[in-house]
Amino acid sequence: MSAVQYDKQLRSYLFLALCCSAILINIFGDYFTQFLLAEIIILSLFAMSLDFLAGRGGMISLGHAMFLGIGAYTTTILYIYLSIDPFLCSLITIIIGLILGYLIALIITKTHGIFFIMITLALGEMFHSWAFTNDSLGGSDGISGIARPDLLFMGLDLNEPLLFTYYLIVWLILSYLFLSAITDSPLGRNLDAIRQNSNRVLSLGGSVKFYKSASFGISSAIACLAGSLYAQLNGFVSPELSHWTVSGEGLIMIIVGGIGSLSGAILGAAVVHVLQHELSKLVDWWMLLMGGGFILIVLFMKDGLWGIILKFKNYIMEKIC
């Protein structure tokens, strides 16, 4: 799948604008707004990981929510059964996600196109049904009792929604910096080349398999982090988190935002989640509106919101110069 036009400067400006508005909303918003914002940030992390995978790696995954689930359940197991510090849990989860993603990708990158989508779907559903039937993890009812990280020694009580959202924003900034650094690194360039012509990269001596697996691992690590933070936000995990429709919603977010532009994914996540939230309050048939709007975006707005912003920027540049 083709990624959007690459514009490093615009990407960072958009991210900065989004971050500033998140902080402003966090300061002036009430309890529910802060909770909604926290959810949006976690979804943004997930959307960014999917965006990196689809936009840079060229791999569309319909099973990426599996890593959300893995992250959330790993955090739960580490905290409840091994009583490890919640902050450490998130770090361990990231490492587990990285390794697991890399190993899984070594096997599944054999397949291409629609077959890759299907095998990720199958893996995701496998995990979902395993979590659904596993009684020691709460089965279909899910499991609760996950605590948020304890930063009281710094005088910060993360059970306060305001502070927890700041904590999430810090993670978002770190992940964004990490992913954008990788996008601009030789690995990112190699991924761009593989997406356009993998045979040529192979004939030039590049290890397509390694690059693809590495990017899959990185993407899964970020998704696992999102899952871990989600578990800490709600204090509760259920198998629904890893259902394939969650991955589908993630794809909707990156399409709305514009595939391949990291900050566009955040914008997409925010727009889609807020629309979902507001429309479901207004009308019963919000899914009809959302589905219809999504179809129109796929048909007529190839680069999503990112495309509009890019056009707007180019128009202004032309006027000035």
């Binding site: 629609i114 989508i117 299907m118 496998m126 019963d284």
Partner: protein, 283 residues
């Protein structure tokens, strides 16, 4: 016990076959994976429900619901699918993903979110004895419908002129066009036929599984698995794939109940690892 399970597996396989055949033909012809295929199955069941409540006759529902679904398919093709053939394949998949939402909510708006049931016709509502085991007649009827469609499709695709044209355009779209065959017409009819078969599957299994708004999703994933395992674009693949998945799922549930859903996905993952393009791929 064993015979009951075999018949159950066969019944499940035949439902999967009815669903996957439409999807696989559309994929072969247009290279589009239609994620809204499950939605058409659901529509078939709901249309059957409406006809059944209105006329109180199962047979009317059985004949007219698939026709109505085929009509919806024809409208979808002429309004949407016709225009997206030149679009990037991933975008097409995502577009049909959007259709799932539209379909699900339309059904909720029109029929409400309650689950309904259709009762089987009186002729088929009893059970019969097969080698010492009782088995519901209606399930045998489902197997019969599947086999009937299989035979008809076989003759239609393998022996008729129209079928030859369809197979030719699956194999090589452009050359077929150059030979003076109107491939757009073929696409239109095949797409409608596929949708009609999905509707047929919906109305046929409605007395067994009921009619509810979420039924499209469960079936969609299963159908996709069958198509991918069998190899997209191949009739033989759809048949073998549905038998394989139907039997693995049914017997997996009997022998390893704790792994109920996992066996099927594991089987698919294994097949894809060793045969990345499916068993009888036409690509």
């Amino acid at each position: 016990m064993l015979i009951t399970e075999i018949l159950n597996a066969l019944q499940f396989s035949m439902t999967l076959f009815l669903l996957s055949i439409g999807l696989t033909i559309v994929f072969g012809l247009m290279k589009i994976v239609n994620l809204a295929h499950g939605t058409l199955y659901m529509l078939g069941a709901y249309l059957g429900l409406s006809i059944w409540t209105f006329s109180n006759s199962f047979w009317l529902a059985f004949f007219f619901a698939p026709l109505a679904t085929a009509l919806i398919g024809a409208i979808l093709y002429s309004c949407l699918f016709k225009f997206i053939q030149r679009v990037d394949p991933m975008r097409q998949v995502l577009l049909t993903f959007g259709l799932i939402y539209v379909g699900l909510d339309s059904v909720r708006l029109l029929w409400g979110s309650m689950s309904h049931s259709i009762s089987a016709p009186e002729l088929l509502s009893n059970s019969i004895q097969i080698v010492g085991e009782t088995y519901p007649t209606y399930r045998l009827f489902v197997i019969f419908v599947g086999l009937f469609v299989l035979v008809v499709l076989y003759f239609l695709l393998e022996k008729s002129k129209m079928g030859a044209m369809v197979r030719a355009s699956v194999d090589d779209h452009e050359t077929t066009q150059m030979l003076g065959i109107n491939t757009n017409k073929i696409l239109f009819y095949s797409f409608s036929l596929g949708c009609g078969l999905a509707g047929l599957a919906g109305v046929t299994v409605a007395p067994i599984v009921g009619v509810e708004a979420g039924m499209d999703m469960e079936v969609l994933v299963l159908t996709l698995i069958v198509v991918v395992v069998g190899g997209p674009g191949s009739l033989k693949g759809a048949l073998v794939g549905s038998l394989l998945i139907g039997f693995i799922d049914t017997f997996g549930k009997v022998f390893f109940p704790e792994l109920a859903l996992i066996t099927m996905y594991a089987a698919m993952a294994l097949i894809l690892i060793f045969k990345p393009d499916g068993m009888y791929s036409k690509l």
